[in-house]
């Protein structure tokens, strides 16, 4: 991207970057030193920034920090029991898409199969469900009793979902540990190979747990890349509907 306009002056972007002490190409600084017009533009940008600071400061109000401190302490104390693992496998995060049942058993179907050499370790997962967040699910979707869980060996895993119906919600959660888990509606089928989980989905909601520790992770849905994480760098290219720090919700178009 060029740093000069057609009129041979610094672009607005470069002016803003210079003002904010963000690295710019060396030639831009050379140009600035010899151009009165750009120096004037930079000064105007600095004035504008000062005015914005002043305007935003007008919005500020007093907040009671001590009350907030106590409120945070109370919330932390309230949540302490909930932070404990909910299963003996140490998976501690709740499944907010999985309905209201206090306990349910994941049942794998006959369609579940593993490719030769599969690192598949566990097919059945018993899990307590914590209180769901009711706004998360699009209406009409039901709890998902079918899934598979695989320990990621080698730190890389690709998840491929096929034939996912339009409107299906796919929730991705990042968890500690080394396992990848995929859950979907009854009738869905799963296969796995080294570093690969492939599922044919009959309906949602779909829930995918991915290990934070994995070096490389990708999620492809109906042949389209939705998510990729490499060396801690996450790229979201799917239809994101909601996002939190350790959670992404996609809705398949």
């Amino acid at each position: 991207m060029t740093y000069l306009t057609d009129a041979n002056h610094l672009t607005e972007r470069v002016i803003v970057e210079l003002r904010d002490n963000t690295p710019v190409v060396a030639d831009a600084r050379v140009h600035l030193d010899g151009c009165d017009i750009c120096q004037t533009a930079l000064a105007a940008s600095e004035d504008r920034a000062a005015d914005i600071v002043s305007t935003l400061t007008d919005l500020d109000e007093h907040f009671d920090v001590e009350s907030a401190r106590e409120a945070v302490r109370a919330r932390l104390a309230q949540r302490e029991p909930a932070a404990k693992p909910v299963s003996d496998r140490g998976l501690r995060t709740s499944f907010w898409t999985l309905g209201r049942a206090a306990t349910f058993l994941l049942v794998t179907t006959g369609a579940l199969s593993a490719l030769p050499g599969s690192p598949l370790r566990e097919f059945l997962i018993g899990r307590e469900a914590q209180a769901p967040e009711p706004s998360a699910l699009p209406p009409g979707e039901s709890a998902a009793p079918v899934g598979m869980r695989m320990v990621v060996e080698g730190g890389a895993v690709d998840v491929e979902l096929q034939q996912v119906p339009s409107g299906t919600s796919i929730e991705v959660r990042w968890l500690s540990g080394q396992a990848v888990t995929v859950l979907a509606a009854t009738g869905s089928s799963f296969t796995s190979a080294q570093g690969l989980v492939r599922a044919t989905i009959t309906g949602g909601p779909v829930t995918i747990e991915l290990p934070k520790s994995a070096s490389e992770v990708s999620l492809a849905v109906n042949g389209r890349m939705y998510l990729r994480r490499t060396a801690g760098e996450e790229t979201l290219s799917g239809p994101v509907d909601a996002q939190d720090v350790d959670r992404v919700l996609f809705i398949v178009p």
């Binding site: 991207m1 607005e12 972007r13 470069v14 002016i15 803003v16 970057e17 904010d20 963000t22 504008r48 920034a49 005015d51 914005i52 600071v53 305007t55 935003l56 007008d58 919005l59 500020d60 109000e61 907040f63 920090v65 907030a68 401190r69 409120a71 945070v72 302490r73 919330r75 932390l76 949540r79 932070a83 979201l236 509907d241 909601a242 996002q243 939190d244 720090v245």
Partner: protein, 163 residues
Amino acid sequence: MDFDTTFNEEYRPLVGYCHRLCGDRDTAEDVAQEAMVRLFERDVDGSPAGIRAWLFKTATHLIRDRYRVEGNRKRLLSENPVMPTESESPDNVLEQAEKRARARRALDAMPTRDREMLLMRYSGFSYREIAETVDVAATSVGTLLARAERRFIDVLAAAGEPA
């Protein structure tokens, strides 16, 4: 990570940012407290700057989730309109309230991403940290920020407030 030290350093700027971002005092306090709770609950580790960036990013996403349905946002604004103080207040208080209302309207008129970028920038975050929070390339931040500032000032000027 010491609770009191972190709280003393981070809560006030965090709740101020949330308030600027969402325009609702109660929501701002709730979100800022929730972000602090998650910080300690998850035992997030890092430098003070990294922890601050984590808190602001978390709060930004929490507010974004709450206002994901635009109708909710409009409903909230209609229930809690930003209005100047009543006429019995001194002139300078009234003037301040009017300026605040204009600034609020200008922020509310901006696209979500522009608003987040502008407020993060003026909370002291780097272009890289802004990029990570709003999910854009770091190289795009300068362009997008310049546009966001222009929009903010245009709307403010249209409302009679020379920024």
